[in-house]
Symmetry: C2
Subunit: 264 residues, 2 copies
């Protein structure tokens, strides 16, 4: 059946056990990388250095396998790696894989998961939000465009009392996102996303337990929006700081232990 197993020949492995017995020379640890990782690294390199740019389509898997000189299964494993990194997206059927830029949501989801697995506490998240959000609000006040204002106002207009808990929470999260986008700073937009995402579940619990919270949230957001409209960065910082403190207080009133792990 098999003529001769000459495969694997392109990856010469060190089978010779020719280690000098007494030598105490310093050897660098031998770095053996699986092929799928090398393929992934090669592709990722071409993407990060922009020789393949977003929106372009990759050759089909079989063609890639031919070019790299590996099996299609190996290429697929490499592609899967890039896909989870968010730099590739594939659609079913005959569409080719497309190079994309990782979406904020995907990156944020990874970060959230990592934070959650690292046993980060609510307190830690609050501390970070306290540090991060006021400057974000300030930057938003400085940099906002009319379009940003419009989006923020649109969100505020939807804040009514007869919303369900989930919608209210989602709307609050969207408010933070909108403020982040008004900064026109990709770092800010990405930075607070995982934090907001981590808080969303418990925010719902808090709102349910603390009836007055909804009103305070809406009020703070309106004030904040006004300062952003007025391009008053200092006031925006102050109101955002107050807004964050409010959340903190809500959690205390709802008796959510702040040194609990987030997420789950």
């Amino acid at each position: 059946m098999s003529e001769l197993p000459a495969k694997y020949s392109r990856r010469p492995r060190r089978t010779a056990a020719g280690a000098v017995p007494g030598a105490s020379l310093e050897f660098a640890p031998i770095r053996i990388e699986p092929a799928y990782r090398k393929v992934a690294a090669a592709l990722l390199g071409r993407i990060t250095d922009r020789s393949i740019s977003a929106g372009e389509r990759l050759p089909p898997e079989l063609e890639l396998a031919r070019q790299f000189g590996v099996h299609r299964g190996t290429v697929r494993e490499a592609l899967r790696e890039l896909e989870t990194n968010g730099v590739l997206k594939r659609e079913r059927g005959s569409k080719l894989m497309m190079v994309t830029r990782p979406t904020r949501g995907a990156v944020a989801a990874n970060v959230s998961r990592a934070l959650s697995l690292h046993d980060v506490s609510y307190h830690d998240v609050w501390e970070a939000l306290t540090a991060l959000e006021p400057p974000i609000a300030g930057a938003a006040a400085r940099e906002r465009t009319p379009a940003d204002l419009q989006r923020i106002d649109g969100l505020l207009a939807r804040q009514t009392d007869d919303l369900g808990t989930d919608e209210a929470v989602e709307l609050t999260a969207d408010f933070f996102r909108a403020v982040g986008e008004a900064t026109h700073n990709g770092v800010f937009m990405l930075a607070h996303e995982p934090l907001v995402a981590l808080l969303v579940p418990s925010l719902g619990a808090m709102i349910d337990k603390v009836p007055q919270a909804r009103g305070r949230i809406t009020e703070a957001q309106r004030r904040l929006a006004a300062t952003i409209r007025a391009k008053d960065a200092a006031a925006a910082q102050d109101w955002m700081a107050k807004h964050i403190r409010d959340f903190h207080r809500g959690f205390e009133i709802a008796r959510i232990a702040l040194d609990n792990r987030v997420g789950g």
Copy 2:
């Protein structure tokens, strides 16, 4: 050779083309997920909800394939996905895959790449550092332990004039990391890592072009360390802010355009 192709039977596909002709009803798009994604989701779920905890070992691939009722290749693609997410680590040979928690470095690398691909500018990174690092320094001053102090001092002691550019830059980055760890806040530790990583390459260029930068950096770090030792959070914030401004000025002097893309 093949008796009968009864495979694929466990995934019934809708072959019937029974679409109502004139109906203008709203249909939700049908979500069809590949099997490898479902397997990945199942495993990830068990990890994030802690029913499989870090350090445990997963069953071998063949066993997983048997349990999920899919082919080993499919399981492998799913595992690759988790591996990139950092929740699994595998070693060569007969060792089983081990559940791990994503390392900060891995997560940060993903974030850095995403930021870089999104054309974030130096200015954006500076703005974020200006917002983030002073509060981090303040938290470090409040929360530092003797061990943290020792690590920081160790790094400072290695800051001498006869270091190569690369070592000096790496030492500076490590200083930031050490301050971050002194906060004992996982969010802070993770948050500034990608930013520092993005700056490292250009920081080397800056140091080479601006001779006085090295001295200023060392001086600022010593002062900062002193405030952290004294647990003087306010002073720590101030010195960190100054430190960051210093970097900014260095870049201006070195004529590195601040609206350039970072990374690459």
